[in-house]
Symmetry: C2
Subunit: 337 residues, 2 copies
């Protein structure tokens, strides 16, 4: 069984809360109406597991930074106002105090940048270091963005350039054969809030942009025409181009940038320009929602609708020895299977 | 560093949420005022780690049951109305589907018994099975119970008999030399809600009753006179008595019963009788809050104020080979150190 069939089977046995808006897989956060008032609660929990096991982050500060950013990014994707976060730690007596100080420092800087705090968490004795974050936020009832709602003709955007998170994963896995700049992703909370009433669907690119497109395609019964020109961070694209590799590989990594990938109906494109300008950010056009199944990446490739199985992608990265050509072949085989 | 000094050092570097009521260690849940309305959010997260590593639970159903009950019990201890829970899983390809079905079945039965649902969670690939639950609830602003507030003269109660959780841990660690009945703890949500405005402090006994008393003692600058007569489940006490062992050992295990241990000012003892009777449960008297430091267990022992360090208690249980007398000596040394 892959991860999705395991989740589906596990969840099929469980009652869901009466107060919940979203069905399984439909949202980056769980959305729950509070019993009184007009408030919807957004809650998400995320353990950093594969990323640590595969050594994607070079230092404890980055580990703390990304651990909290990953959960705040889920709040951003539903357009929530963040309230607080919890941190779960697994520690052991051999762990150096400097290591934990570094993790805390990364978390604290993300807190300060986003005006939130850590309310608490849980600590356990584990043979290897573990970290996970739970984030909770609020929004007016009915205002949440979900992964559902895009239709053919909608325009597709991202909140920032893609590629740095993908390169962090590719480069660390390649054992230094690809240079990897410092990875300091930003949870797009301000951008997410400005998309209320404008975006028809929204998801973050935590598992890569291609995975995000595949989830939207499956959930909404649509396809995508993607134009990668102008969507990549030049510092992420350059190392690939220097080796003659296609840019779209940066969409298909196990790891993404925590940008928001969102769709906007044609009639609201003008509104998007106004709300993003007022909030001080600039959407990057990524393509169009189509009625034809498949994700056409131009220039590059054409893939059928899919959801990348993280377990399968992880297996690819675990077996990866720096041979990028064979990794590409493996990723292509995965998205085509 | 022990677990508490690690948590304190880690937390010292982190901003806390402006909306939070409780300070570190002061509550079983984190308590956050929502920006609009008169609602306080209660949130708690708990990973089942030591319990799984030490094999306290004999089957996947019990694992799922206890994983969710542990988090709901934290909601109960602050008197919250449960809203929903999230489940975090660590799975691997070698895990049998029957195992996961058993875990889900235990979770589902606890959901149904408490009228809640599972909103979502997180799944990762891990070398060993992992499970943790996050629970979220609400209560009227200002109504939350915390671990702070008891004063000398207050009466001490528990919501149900003690000993079965302690015996589950002692018995499994003893490799079958102590019989261990099925362990199906109940989150005391109904009891917790009825204690609003009546209890002066409340904590659950998830880490054992002695640990709970030690935390209350340290936080409130008080001591306790405890009378264990009548507080134990007879089925948990009998195996110890058959071996000539003291009953108070059941208070000092690594593991407890998820009962609420709470204090009531003398003037509200009558009110406790009314609210508990109306809600259909009966408090069990456990003793009195004193102004003198120390926890006097009668009959049995007299221990100074302390908090049992779970890492140290775990180390005792890891080295435990069925020799209960040496385990007792070790526990006594811990609480006296």
């Amino acid at each position: 069984m892959n991860e999705f069939s395991i989740i589906d089977r596990f969840a099929a046995n469980l009652p869901r809360p009466a107060a919940q808006h979203n069905a399984l897989h439909e949202s980056d956060c769980e959305l729950l109406d509070l019993p009184s008032g007009d408030v919807t609660l957004a809650i998400t929990t995320d353990d950093l597991v594969e990323e640590l096991a595969l050594g994607f982050y070079p230092d404890p500060y980055t580990i703390g930074w990304v651990a909290l950013t990953a959960s705040l990014s889920d709040l951003a994707a539903v357009s929530a106002d963040p309230l607080a976060a919890l941190v779960s730690l697994g520690i052991h007596p051999g762990l150096e105090a400097d290591f934990l100080d570094g993790v805390a420092s990364g978390i604290a800087d993300v807190c300060r940048a986003n005006g939130i705090g850590i309310a608490g968490g849980d600590t356990n004795a584990t043979p290897e270091f573990r970290i996970g974050c739970t984030a909770v936020g609020t929004l007016p009832r009915g205002a949440a963005l979900t992964r559902r709602g895009c239709r053919p003709g909608d325009r597709v955007y991202v909140t920032g350039p893609l590629g740095t998170g993908a390169l962090a994963a590719l480069g660390r896995s390649a054992g230094g054969s690809l240079p990897t700049p410092a990875f300091r992703p930003v949870a797009r909370l301000r951008e997410g809030r400005s998309l209320r009433g404008v975006a028809s669907a929204c998801i973050d690119t935590s598992d890569g942009a291609l995975d995000a497109l595949g989830r939207l395609a499956r959930l909404n019964g649509v396809g995508f025409d993607v134009d990668v020109a102008g969507c990549f961070d030049p510092s992420a694209l350059a190392p690939l181009e220097a080796r003659g590799l296609p840019g779209w590989l940066l969409l298909a990594s196990l790891h993404g940038e925590f940008e928001l990938l969102f769709t906007v109906p044609p009639g609201l494109v003008g509104a998007l320009g106004r709300v993003s300008g007022a909030a001080g950010w600039r959407p990057i056009a990524l393509g169009t929602v189509t009625g034809r199944p498949g994700i056409r990446i131009d220039p590059g490739t054409d893939v059928p609708p899919f959801v990348l199985d993280p377990l399968a992608v992880r297996a690819l990265f675990e077996g990866y020895d720096g041979d990028l050509e064979s990794l590409i072949a493996g990723l292509l085989a995965l998205v085509r299977s």
